[in-house]
Amino acid sequence: MLLVWAGLFSWGFTQEPTQIEVWVWGDLTAQFMEHLQATFNATHPAYQVTIVGKKAEEYNTILTNALQGGAGPAVFLTRINPMPTQFGQAGLSPALNDLVPALAAYDPASLAALSDAEGNVYAVPYAVVAYPVYYNVDIFAAQGLSVPTTWEEFLGVCKALKDAGIAPISMYHAGWAFTEILHPAVAAAFLPEEWLEALETGQVNYTSPEFIATFEAIEELVPYLIDGWEGMTYGDARAAFANGEAAMIFDGNWSVPTFKDLNPDLNFDVFVLPGPAGKMYWRLDGGWGMNAALEGAQRDAAIAFLNYVAGPYANEILARDLGILPAAPGVRMAQADPLSRKISELRVTHGVKIMYGIGGQVALKYSGFYGALGTATEGVLLGTLTPEEAARMVEESK
């Protein structure tokens, strides 16, 4: 009997841990998750997780093909809707509502970007992205400018900079960035929350005066964009801001480490674009999904990892190492970059939840919305569309 117990005891110690793969977009992301991987493996000796970075540009295709071909990873980062819902409805990833109890405490707006209309959550929220206005503190100080608190003040700052021969706003010519950064940032400053709620219930549409006003505001920015913006990529615009060629840029929080990397001496800060509504747009950046084909110990390992990344400790690590804004509740961000922490705090005080299109149920219903919003914004910036025409273009994409 003693021998049997001794045998079982030693088996328990010598058994190989169950190995699973976790896929994320980009090699760099995987590298920055090394500590997350190490802490999980150290605290869960029965499991061995390997985080693998896949080519970011082709990540969606690689992941979709792998899951459909039965060669998908145990756990994977997924983009926001429609991707997770499509995976869920195709039976490629299971609903996690019961498997990850911590999901119940998450912000419903974050969960909505990973759920179907019935409330099945197909991924654990990974990170939040927020869209402040970055500004060059030294340029503002040299020109005696302070952070604007109204839209008129903001335009006044732009004019003062232009009059001083400084490009006020660095801008990119990229449809995706118009859809994901510029328009939502302006819209959050202009659209009242009542209007956003009315949009969701169908009482208003995109041709209403409030939405047209967002394009009018974008039109007002045109004189203050950096010379040659029409031929600049997103990377060019970020470099121009980092090198002090322009005083401000509309960008996501993910650019904090990029700006520091491009110019370690850059003295920059952020503010919420002021407008009648005065809000800052934020949305979920993605989620941790699970392969539905898993069985036995592999499934247990995946569930353990998902519960781990749903908790505050893992998110504290990610906030420090990756500079993300955690979607998980109760994360202190004590070790995170101060500017990332500030943006995170601004999200709490000024954040406006998903307004339209990206990640929401609209994305599931209207496949043309994403492109139409970018094209409409581009048309206004180039002067080929009036704000009314742009709003109509967005409405007609439904």
Binding site: N60, T61, T64, L67, Q68, R79, I80, P82, M83, Q86, F87, Q89, A90, L92, H173, A174, G175, W176, E180, I226, D227, G228, W229, E230, G231, M232, T233, D236, A240, E245, I358, G359, A363, S367, G368, Y370, G371, A372, G374, T375, E378, G379, L382, T384, E396, S397
Partner: protein, 293 residues
């Protein structure tokens, strides 16, 4: 002997074509269930204003690219080939290499290189214009509504011309010298020899290269993608069919399924039918124009 080749052809050519055709009759998003919707995607492509407008706009850009490249790539290629074929010209080899060099570079790389050359703030073109006092001429070549597509077409022609020069030179040099000598003896000058003797003999080559140019112009993707983006900036002015197909089928990062793979397949099938029909007409014309000398 042909059996292994037939298997490979079936797996890698026929099967994807047939599969695309079948997908085009479904509402498949690229993941999840497929539902048969008959000609729904085709009807949507030609009747839904947004889709139809984008399709015809992209098609017209491909047609313009074909026309312009016929004139400036095939036409200039033919002209340069006549000049470079002259045995009296010194440094022929050098010129051949210089003209062919742009074609050696992968078109995607060439697109990105030109993107830097044309950069509005520090690109070589604008810097040169500034250096010679033409500051008012500097602008965002690839971002300006008026200059974006002409600039792309110019780069396209610059890349292709060398390829056509080489082909035309090979054809010109294969014309028996006696025919030219006979024409000279009959009193023809060089231009008359080209017009009455060489051009008629080059007709099959001209048609063949026109066909290649047609296929290239309607399959244009990588260089244009590098010079603009998936949406054919600015404001769709450089949009072409392959960009339209790509974003319809595969979307983008946060719009991962675009309009769906079913719709994308429908676009691909329409493109394929168009290319096959026109290519068939070209091939018929080439067959009729065959000459022996």
């Amino acid at each position: 002997m042909l059996f292994p080749a037939l298997i490979l052809y079936t797996i890698f050519v026929a099967y994807p074509y047939i599969n695309s055709l079948l997908y085009s009759f479904t509402d498949w998003m690229g993941v999840g269930p497929k539902h048969f919707i008959g000609l729904g995607n085709y009807i949507r492509l030609f009747t839904e204003p947004r889709m139809a407008h984008t399709f015809w706009r992209a098609l017209s850009h491909n047609a313009i690219l074909f026309g312009v490249s016929m004139l400036f790539a095939v036409g200039l290629g033919l002209s340069f080939a006549f000049v470079l074929s002259s045995r009296k010209l010194k440094g022929r080899g050098f010129f051949k290499v210089v003209y062919f060099l742009p074609y050696i570079l992968p078109s995607l790389s060439m697109g990105f290189i030109w993107r830097y050359i044309l950069h509005p703030r520090w690109g070589a073109i604008n810097e040169m214009l500034k250096a010679v006092g033409l500051v008012s001429w500097t602008h965002a070549w690839l971002g300006d509504l008026k200059t974006a597509f002409p600039t792309i077409m110019a780069i396209w022609c610059l890349r292709c011309t060398g390829f056509y020069i080489l082909f035309f030179m090979a054809a010109i040099l294969s014309i028996p010298e006696e025919l030219r000598d006979a024409a000279m003896v009959d009193g023809c000058n060089r231009l008359q020899t080209i017009w009455y003797i060489e051009l008629p003999l080059l007709k099959p080559t001209i048609l063949l290269l026109s066909l290649l140019n047609f296929i290239n112009a309607f399959n244009a993707f990588d260089m244009i993608y590098a010079l603009s983006d998936l949406t054919g900036t600015p404001f769709g002015r450089s949009d072409v069919l392959m960009l339209f197909f790509y974003r319809t089928a595969f979307g983008s990062v946060n719009n991962p399924f675009g309009e769906g793979l079913g719709m994308g397949a429908a676009v691909a099938v329409v493109m394929a039918v168009f290319l096959i029909v026109v290519s068939f007409l070209f091939l018929r014309a080439i067959q009729k124009s065959q000459v022996e000398y």
